[in-house]
Amino acid sequence: MSQRVKKKKPSLSRVLIYSFLTLASLLSLFPFYWMFVMATRPSAAYNSIPPTITPGGMLVENFKKVLEQINFFQSMWNTVIVCATVTIVVLLISSLAGFAFAKFKFPAKNALFVAILLTMVIPPQLGLIPQYYLISKAGLLDTLSGVMVLFFLNPLGIFLMRQYISESVPDELIEAAKLDGCSNFKIYRSIVLPIVLPAFATLGIIVFTAVWGEFLWQFTVLRDPEVYTIQVALASLNNTFKVDFGMLLSGVFWATVPLVIIFLFFNKLFISSITDGAVK
């Protein structure tokens, strides 16, 4: 039945569907391509009508101009350090707390869990000024630690980990380990951690990309170009009155390429991390 229906279907609607999806794909990809084109062209190419849409030969020259403006590699490295540290710390905090909420009984457990979820409602800008002063009083302005400490808070991580651990770590396994005399921390380390590794991949991607792209806090804490993360460094490229577009987009291009490569390799993981994070 359904096969007959399929065969009868007019091909026009299929053509329309494919055209619509192809157009959507092209529009999604075009800014990436355009960024590459501009990164390879002199700024003057910008004045031509119709606009240039083929790559030129200034890929290296433009990037050299970027290096004159910002400390590109240092900034990338700073971002990697911040993202990696925050991701590891968040994974540990979330899995420990998730384990506690999923498997232990203690007074006020549910109230505390709800409290953690409620902290998600506080907009990050509300505490911005005192946070800035706290960081500056602690001598952490213009340091990467000052950036990181705020990102260690990740209620969503605890929520996801609790879900995952209560679903996938069997109570019997924990009971058995306890009878064998395992301490709770040993259970966490040798039973819970191996089981939650797949969930670590999901949560890790969520945290890493969120911290990579965050701007307001990094922009507030980091004023010294020496410690700029890549986002702040890139934003500073656009802060002069007359901007060299080729140079500007060269910086954006080289800062985006690593992420695009990682994404293309792990695209399924990236995409499922969104649904795991949002739908659960």
Binding site: M1, K6, R14, I17, F20, L21, A24, S25, L27, S28, L29, P31, F32, W34, Y46, N47, I49, P51, A97, A100, F101, F104, K105, F106, P107, K109, L112, T119, V121, I122, P123, Q125, G127, L128, I129, P130, Y133, L134, P155, Y188, G213, F215, L216, F219, T220, L234, A235, N238, T240, V243, L248, L249, T256, F263, L264, F270, I271, I274, T275, A278
Partner: protein
């Protein structure tokens, strides 16, 4: 003698004692394992939040001693035309940037789920890809695509359709439209993926039954997909609303050096940032933060109300 006594005791109490101590151990572990979050939260979350509310009632430039001024800061902010302009800008950009996403996102998700579709993974990956670029990167790319130059890509395309060039970086609607388009571009794939997950959770039997009853694809989208997708739609509406009210990076980076001196695209968070870190007026900035909290709470409450109503409808339908 004492040793046997201990032994006896132990034997007698083993189950009882062990049970009790296990329970206590679990309790201690439980609190210890959740402690890191609460300690960090108390320090960099709760304390600054409360302090912000306190600051909202003080006059303070960061250096001189604070002075209690009651509701003066709120009065100053609420009487400031620029504040209301920023609220207006935030709402307009928020609506233009997010509302079309929901419609296009649902259509894309529905199409991506069609059984006969080939290159599914390719379409999915490309449509999702904008999401992995950072907001700063998006804003910079779009600042070039949508520049004031007559030869900018956006103005060239407008020209093809016979329109005059637009001052994307300096005009009232040009800035708003350019920023809305970049918000749309970055997030539509993200929402599509969420809708797709929602659509995939809908049983295929329903579609098959509808096909047998002669419903076409559009009717199926309207009468099966849409109603069952409602929880997912509300979720994305909630995320989009809260996110849109906090818009900062895109306009700030897009406008570059004129970000805090022009008002065409100044959002509430930019207004707050400008008060605090450009004008050193921490009291009014904190008052703005508190007002923003109220705006977000109201928006969230409206969302929650919708969710509740939906839940009730479902239950009564059963």
């Amino acid at each position: 003698m004492p040793s046997t006594k201990v032994n006896l005791n132990k034997e007698k109490n083993v189950p009882n004692k062990r049970y009790f101590s296990e329970e206590k151990k679990d309790m201690i572990s439980g609190y210890m394992y959740i402690a890191p979050f609460f300690i960090i939260f108390a320090l960099v979350g709760l304390y600054p939040t409360i302090y912000s509310i306190f600051l909202a009632f003080q006059d303070w430039n960061g250096l001189s001693p604070m002075e209690f001024v009651g509701l003066e800061n709120f009065r100053v902010v609420l009487m400031d035309d620029l504040f209301w302009k920023s609220v207006y800008n935030t709402i307009v950009i928020g609506l233009m940037g997010t509302a079309p996403q929901l419609v296009i996102g649902i259509i894309l998700a529905f199409l991506l789920n069609l059984g006969f579709l080939k290159f599914k993974q390719f379409f999915r990956v490309t449509i999702f890809m904008p999401y992995i670029t950072s907001m700063v990167a998006v804003a910079l790319i779009f600042s070039v695509l949508f520049s004031n130059h007559e030869s900018s890509m956006a103005n060239y395309v407008l020209g093809l359709f016979g329109f005059d060039p637009v001052d994307w970086a300096t005009s009232e609607w040009g800035t708003k439209i350019a920023i809305s388009i970049m918000v749309f571009w970055r997030w539509v794939g993200y929402n599509t993926i969420i809708y797709l997950a929602g659509i995939q959770s809908i049983s295929n039997d329903l579609y098959e039954a509808a096909t047998i009853d002669g419903a076409n694809k559009f009717q199926q989208l309207l009468y099966i997909t849409m109603p069952l997708l409602k929880p997912f739609i509300l979720l994305t509406v909630f995320f989009s609303t809260v996110g849109a009210l906090q818009l900062f990076a895109e306009p700030t980076v897009f406008l570059g050096s004129s970000a805090f001196t022009r008002d065409e695209a100044m959002t509430v968070v930019m207004y707050l940032y400008r008060d605090a870190f450009r004008l050193q007026s921490f009291g009014t900035a904190s008052a703005t933060a508190v007002i923003l909290l109220f705006i977000i709470i109201i928006a969230a409450a409206v969302n929650l109300l919708l969710t509740n109503r939906l839940g009730r409808k479902k239950r009564s339908a059963k």
